[in-house]
């Protein structure tokens, strides 16, 4: 397999970014769009070529997909501990390459229509390319530090894209929030990396993940507060992942991130960047699984399950369609984390891992589709809010159909993509713990309910008073919708377990009919309920909401987590800790520095008289000095 070609996959978006970023005033907007799309087209075809080569042509050696690594030493810390730069190809990396390429390409094409006429058109494409480059780099990273570098790059480009409408105050605030929250989580990640580096002496994924390797076999050698140091490190790494993947309680940035352009939300906050946390846990899965019998993995599972439930409940109450989708994304990411958390390692036990990756894959397709449809709708009615929509199916047939397909896919209706992956997750959860399974099942029903709530709200129901008649979006926007809709239908049929499993050997899966039936039933129940509530304009939903009263308001305000955080940061952190620190800083740290400065100034003020600039004074000093020297010399000479 030709690695030179694979290294081109991240490099092409980088080049595109540099070209667009450096010459953005000289390139005409129309051309810059083509440059972006064309560059990504090459990357995408290379990614597909790589996948074909890896899975089909090279295939398994001794029943296992081999990990291919190409790297160079970048920085040496000690003899053994060093940071490399390079690319690592294994099944999940190749799968992520496909996901990132496809979604990014679709978003690029879509953006050409969506962003038409925007002032920062070229800048927008430059940022998109930067993001794509960083994401590729993250996926292909060979060690923890490299992944961390690209992790931060992804964070930066996400910041840039969320704050793209930088004249809007809320967008700026959202960008800042996203950056600060993820940075906060990344602090955990960084500490985790350092602990791992300290105790295992390597950052390399291959060495770390080797089940027979020293890092995994010796996990118990050091302990801290009842847990081994490596478990702590893995928990900290998971905090980093939770920050990027918007897991509870670090989820607060994702809903606000919807201030960015909708295609960006589709690319970053639905399909690629937010799954980086899931990917990170999957990347370190053997460590999570083997160290301390998967203690850290249990945390992953419970956090995932709770987030799935929590976000789904909030999603029901939101009125901004992009926020509904954002909470839906959080919920589905919780699903993936849950699946990872309940997974085993060998053979069929790796079902959770495989289903998590499978769900990542399918979710990327249909969630990006949902976002792009939402973008198309917003493009047509110029509003994010459900109350401004309704009855759009007549005006936007293509968007209607594709949205419906995506909604059915996320609701888990067979034979669409979401059904297959969600079913695998539920099976894996069922085999692990009944409690988590019930949560998962309940969330599946909720998912179907809220997604059809907005579907009916947008395309059915009563028509709003549109100022100008909504119309179908241009071809550059509908084409990606159709492609993604097609993908949402077919990708579920990929025999994913053949390709991806924790031990890389692959296994066979069969549909578990009773469980599948239950899941489908839950989904259909959700759809049915929302049919009753929202298909026709009626009072039922409002009545129901008022029945739940306090709980509804609570959920509507996202359980007041933003307010809680604001309280903690503003009242406690800023007022008590930061102010004390600031006072200390001003009084003592600055005081010392300023004091030294003032002292120097006043001293020089006093001695500057000596430097009068008068030749006569200098002559006097010179004579006096010469005399003193002469006296000293004579004294020495006489003795």
């Amino acid at each position: 397999m030709n690695l030179n070609l694979i290294i081109l996959i991240p490099l092409i978006p980088l080049v595109v970014f540099l070209v667009l970023g450096l010459f953005y005033k000289k390139i005409k907007p129309a051309i810059s769009g083509y440059i972006g799309v064309f560059g990504l087209l090459i990357s995408t075809s290379l990614a597909f070529y790589a996948a074909y080569m890896y899975f089909i042509v090279i295939g398994k050696t001794e029943g296992v997909y081999q990990t291919i690594v190409e790297k160079t030493v970048w920085m040496n810390f000690t003899d053994s501990l060093r940071i490399d730069m390079g690319i690592l190809i294994d099944p999940i990396a190749v799968m992520m390459l496909i996901v990132v390429s496809v979604i990014s390409l679709m978003v690029h094409i879509y953006s050409r229509g969506y962003m038409k006429g925007d002032l920062g058109y070229t800048k927008y494409f430059a940022f998109l390319s930067l993001f794509t480059f960083s994401m590729y780099g993250l996926v292909l990273a060979t060690n923890l530090f490299q992944i961390y570098i690209f992790w931060e790059l992804v964070g930066v480009s996400s910041y840039l894209l969320i704050g793209y409408y930088y004249t809007k105050e809320s967008a700026v605030a959202a960008a800042k929030k996203a950056f600060v929250v993820t940075r906060f989580a990344d602090l955990g990640f960084l500490i985790g990396i350092l602990i791992i580096g300290y105790y295992t002496g390597t950052y390399d994924f291959e060495t770390l993940n080797n089940p027979e390797g020293t890092s995994i076999l010796n996990w118990a050698s050091t302990s801290f507060m009842g847990l081994s140091a490596l478990t702590w490190a893995l928990i900290l790494v998971f905090i980093g992942g939770a920050g990027k993947s918007a897991m509870f309680p670090l989820h607060i940035w994702l809903p606000d991130a919807m201030e960015g352009p909708t295609p960006v939300s589709a690319l970053i906050h639905a399909a690629t960047m937010v799954v980086a946390g899931v990917y990170l846990v999957a990347r370190l899965f053997p460590m999570y699984y083997f160290i301390e019998d998967g203690f850290a993995l249990n945390i992953v599972a419970f956090v995932g399950a709770f987030t799935a439930l929590f976000a789904a409940v909030i999603a029901i109450t939101q009125t901004d369609i992009k926020r509904v989708l954002a909470f839906s994304t959080m919920s589905q990411l919780g699903y993936m984390m849950l699946a990872l958390g309940v997974s085993g390692y060998e053979g069929h036990e790796g079902l959770g891992f495989m289903s998590s990756m499978f769900h990542l894959f399918t979710h990327a397709m249909f969630k990006a589709l949902l976002f792009l449809c939402a973008g198309s709708v917003i493009h047509a009615v110029h509003s994010n809010f459900l109350k401004d929509m309704g009855g759009l199916r007549k005006y936007m047939p293509i968007t209607n159909i594709t949205f419906l397909i995506a909604a059915l896919a996320i609701a888990g209706v067979p034979p669409l993509a979401g059904f297959w992956s969600k079913d695998e997750i539920l099976v894996a959860t069922f085999e692990h713990s009944l409690f988590l399974y019930v949560i998962g099942l309940f969330v599946a029903g909720l998912t179907a309910f809220y997604i059809f709530r907005i579907y009916f709200g947008i395309f059915w129901g009563k028509e709003s008073n549109y100022k100008d008649k909504p119309h179908e979006s241009p071809g550059s926007m509908t084409a990606p919708l159709l492609i993604l809709a097609f993908l949402s239908i077919v990708v579920g049929f990929i025999p994913f377990s053949e390709f991806i499993s924790p031990d890389k050997a692959g296994f066979e899966t069969h549909l578990n009919y009773p469980l599948a039936a239950i899941a489908v039933f839950a989904g259909l129940l959700g759809i049915g309920l929302s049919w009753i509530f929202y298909k026709k304009e009626n009072e039922l939903a409002d009545k129901f909401a008022s029945r739940f009263g306090a709980f509804y308001t609570w959920a509507y305000h996202k359980f007041y987590f933003d307010e809680l955080y604001l309280f903690v940061t503003k009242r406690i952190l800023f007022n008590v800790i930061a102010k004390t620190a600031a006072r200390f800083d001003k009084k003592y740290v600055d005081g010392t520095m300023v004091g030294i400065g003032n002292q120097t100034v006043s001293t020089s003020e006093r001695i500057k008289v000596m430097q009068s600039g008068k030749v006569q004074d200098y002559a006097l000093a010179f004579i006096a000095g010469a005399v003193v020297l002469a006296i000293i010399c004579i004294y020495l000479w006489l003795n």
């Binding site: 600039g613 008068k614 006569q616 002559a619």
Partner: protein, 105 residues
């Protein structure tokens, strides 16, 4: 050499003359006075050259040559200094040291 006069006495006189010049150079506040002081210092050294030549190396004439050169240089220096002083006086109507301090800025 001067009969009855040792080299020490002559050197004492020139030393005194030299320090009178130094004193004047440092304490006078007027450019022309400073110039006069410099002339005193130069003369002290001229006499020293000549005296040492005469008393210690009567065969040689180097001291005399140096004296001639010093006198020539002193003349050139005085001419330049006087021209500078006159020019300065034209510009700021003063030759006091304190008034021309601003020139160094």
């Amino acid at each position: 050499m001067i009969p009855g006069i040792s080299i020490y006495e002559i050197l004492t006189v020139t030393s005194i003359l030299f320090f009178i010049g130094v004193y004047g150079f440092i304490t006078r506040t007027n450019l022309i006075s400073i110039l006069i002081s410099v002339e005193l210092i130069l003369n002290a050294s001229v006499v020293n050259f000549v005296i040492i030549n005469k008393y210690l190396f009567p065969e040689a004439l180097q001291g005399v040559y140096f004296s001639i050169f010093i006198i020539a240089v002193a003349a050139a220096e005085t001419a330049l200094a006087v021209s500078i002083i006159i020019n300065l006086y034209r510009q700021i109507s003063s030759v006091e040291v304190k008034d021309i301090e601003t020139m160094k800025y």
